[in-house]
């Protein structure tokens, strides 16, 4: 049973058996090749096809009989070798070209099915290295006898290396160019083989064993190739993904490192990067590090692509150049790093980083400096136009006021619209150091149509303490003592205050202080209301504009 193909040749339809078709088409292809450079090439090919058709008709092939291999053989013998079609009187320019293009034929490893003891592995290798297959066979036998490696290698090669089946593959195996005579010879050989297999059934024990083995290996080989083909997609896809993600990550990390330098907000890493970036040498180091990481990722992608496309993307030139770039980048990186390492460590130490450990030692406390330099709250409750203070320090007075505003027994809120103020007077004018004796006047006010109204408040002598008289005035650290009300009042005053201060308290006129507090209050409330009003107006303006815009666009 044979497959039959329908073809037209010189305008005549023929049914041609598959193997005969292969032989005939390779014959015509060979003729075409031998005619390359001939000005009449197409015409001659048509002539030849017509001639072949005529001959096949003469053999009654267009009637009920299909064209067989022997028909093709007879016809091609009559027509002549493809090389006979070369016209000697045509110019020979093209021939040299042909040789050039043919010299690119690559030699590939195949199993030689025509020259076998078992599966043609040895003869295939022998073809590949242009040596006698007997030598290869001996090596296999020898390697098997020594440690069994030979048989293992043979089995693996049997499974992995495909058999040269088509004419093209057979020529690739031999590393020969597809010359015309050789094609013809190959076709003849194929025919002989077909006949041999037809007429000479397998004989002998070895032949039987061989046949069974070949069948088994054929199945196993197909299975393995199938499994590999299945996993190839996953593996290839994985490699591409790995490479692409890695590439994207590396590119972003390096671009950030080079441009802004804030990869991790960790002092040491940050500082190291800063030092590296600050010098040209450092930038080159970073660039070479970039190449060192990027090239393997690129290779990953190429390998993945090769697996997916079943095509080797690694040309020798590409591989070599990638290898050279990678290796030189690595050398560059290592050398530069060693050169710079010492300097980096020195600079890190100078900046206060201890390169030995991961902990960061900050040698000076920045907080103290910042806070000490920052002025106390100037805005809001206290007018800034007080330059001289009865405490000798404007900030001390502000802090004290702030402190008493926070003490609920001195100042408290009774109305949502109320504003609270505290004013102080130093009772001991000679003393500006803690503990201080002061008279405190605190009150809550409300502004009603421009008239200031007192809502709540208190007034009285107090002694104020601060843990460190030289330090600055943290409101949280103040403490105070004040005389209790009622019958205990005068007794407490005597206990708390010095005699001079007691005298002052006795004659103290609170109206002065009250006035002062009211003036403060009026000024500040007015100011505050103005600000509030201004803010409100701005808000209104923005809001109305916004509304107008919305209306406009709708």
């Amino acid at each position: 049973m044979k497959k039959v193909i329908n073809i037209t040749l010189g305008g005549v339809v023929f049914a041609i058996e598959e193997d005969a078709f292969t032989a005939l088409s390779s014959y015509i292809e060979a003729i075409k090749k031998s005619l390359s450079g001939n000005a009449d090439r197409n015409e001659v090919v048509i002539d030849v096809e017509i001639a072949i058709a005529e001959k096949l008709v003469a053999r009654k092939c267009n009637e009920k009989k299909a064209v067989t291999v022997s028909d093709v053989e007879a016809v091609t013998l009559e027509m002549g070798n493809p090389s006979d079609f070369k016209d000697e009187n045509e110019n020979n320019k093209k021939q040299t070209e042909e040789i050039h293009s043919d010299s690119g034929t690559k030699k590939r490893l195949y199993r030689d099915g025509e020259n076998t003891v078992l599966a043609g592995v040895a003869s295939g290798i022998a073809q590949y290295f242009d040596i006698d297959p007997v030598i290869v066979r001996l090596v296999f036998v020898f390697a098997t006898l020594i440690n069994g490696f030979g048989i293992l290698a043979y089995i693996i090669l049997w499974l992995v290396v495909p058999e040269a089946k088509t004419t093209q593959q057979k020529f690739e195996m031999r590393g020969e160019q597809l010359t015309l005579k050789e094609i013809k010879e190959q076709v003849k050989k194929n025919l002989e083989n077909i006949q041999n297999t037809n007429y000479e059934p397998v004989k002998g024990l070895w032949a039987k064993i061989r046949k069974v083995l070949i069948t088994i290996f054929d199945i196993v080989g197909r299975l393995l190739r199938g499994i590999f083909g299945f996993f190839r997609y996953f593996f290839g896809l994985g490699l591409i993904l790995l490479g692409a993600l890695g590439l994207a990550g590396t590119v972003s990390v390096f671009s950030v490192a080079l441009l802004s330098g804030t990869i991790i907000h960790q002092g040491e890493v940050q500082a190291t990067l800063e030092i590296i970036r600050s010098s040209t040498l450092g930038v080159i180091t970073l660039l070479s590090a970039f190449f060192v990481t990027v090239i393997p990722l690129f290779v990953c992608i190429l390998a993945g692509l090769s697996m997916l496309a079943k095509r080797n993307h690694f040309t020798i030139a590409k591989s070599v150049s990638l290898g050279v770039i990678w290796f030189s980048a690595l050398t560059f990186f290592a050398t530069l790093l060693i050169i710079q390492a010492e300097q980096i460590v020195l600079e890190l130490e100078a900046q206060g980083y201890d390169h030995g450990g991961h902990s960061i030692h900050v040698h000076s406390d920045p907080f103290r400096i910042t806070v000490s330099e920052a002025p106390a709250d100037e805005s809001g409750l206290f007018p800034s136009d007080i330059t001289e203070s009865q405490f000798g320090n404007q900030y001390l007075e502000s802090s004290l006021s702030e402190y008493f505003l926070r003490q609920s027994e001195f100042s408290w809120q009774t109305s949502d619209t109320g504003y609270r103020f505290c004013t102080l007077e130093n009772l001991d004018t000679n003393e500006t150091l803690f503990p201080l004796s002061v008279w405190v006047f605190c009150s809550e006010y409300d502004m009603d149509n421009g008239v200031l109204k007192a809502l709540s408040g208190s007034s009285g002598p107090v002694k104020v303490f601060y843990p460190n008289e030289n330090s600055f005035y943290d409101v949280r650290n103040f403490s105070h003592v004040h005389p209790r009300d009622g019958s205990l009042y005068s007794k407490d005053i005597q206990r708390i205050f010095s005699p001079e201060v007691q005298e002052r308290i006795r004659i103290f006129d609170v109206t002065e202080l009250q006035k002062k507090n009211e003036i403060f209050a009026r000024d500040n409330i007015a100011r505050w209301l103005k600000i509030k009003d201004a803010v409100l107006r701005v808000r209104l303006k923005v809001f109305s504009k916004h509304i107008a815009e919305i209306l406009l666009y709708n």
């Binding site: 002539d47 017509i50 001639a51 005529e54 008709v57 006979d84 079609f85 016209d87």
Partner: protein
């Protein structure tokens, strides 16, 4: 001793005869001047390839069919030949080649030069045969 030397000589002769492809030389010679007999055949009467092949065979000028097609195409391209299509009862149509007037004049010149060549080669052959 003499025998050995003699053998060696023989060997070297054998070697050179192997590297020189006599068959190839003969076929080249035939191919080289094939134009002339082909023109002669077509000049006698318009013919198609099978006719030409038959005539060549009769004249003992054995060539394979394949050699003829490029040759005929070239002669046609250079204006020595022209062809007409002729229907065939058994197969595809055939090309029937005939000489153009330019072809006839070329053929005349070739005939002339062949005749002179023939006499000169023949005298050389006669001399050579006499010498042996």
């Amino acid at each position: 001793m003499e025998d050995v030397v003699h053998n060696k000589k023989n060997d070297s002769v054998l070697d050179s005869s192997e590297s020189y492809d006599t068959e190839n030389a003969k076929s080249q010679m035939r191919k080289g001047f094939l134009e002339f007999p082909v023109l002669l055949i077509i000049g006698a009467k318009p013919s198609y390839v099978a006719d030409i092949l038959k005539e060549l065979k009769v004249a003992n000028l054995l060539v394979v069919e394949g050699t003829l097609y490029p040759l005929l195409s070239r002669l046609k391209r250079h204006g020595l030949l022209e062809y007409t299509w002729e229907e065939s009862r058994s197969g595809p149509p055939r090309k029937v080649y005939s000489l153009t007037s330019f072809g006839s004049s070329v053929l005349e010149q070739l005939e002339e030069s062949w005749k002179t060549l023939d006499t000169s080669v023949n005298t050389l052959i006669k001399k050579y045969e006499k010498g042996n």
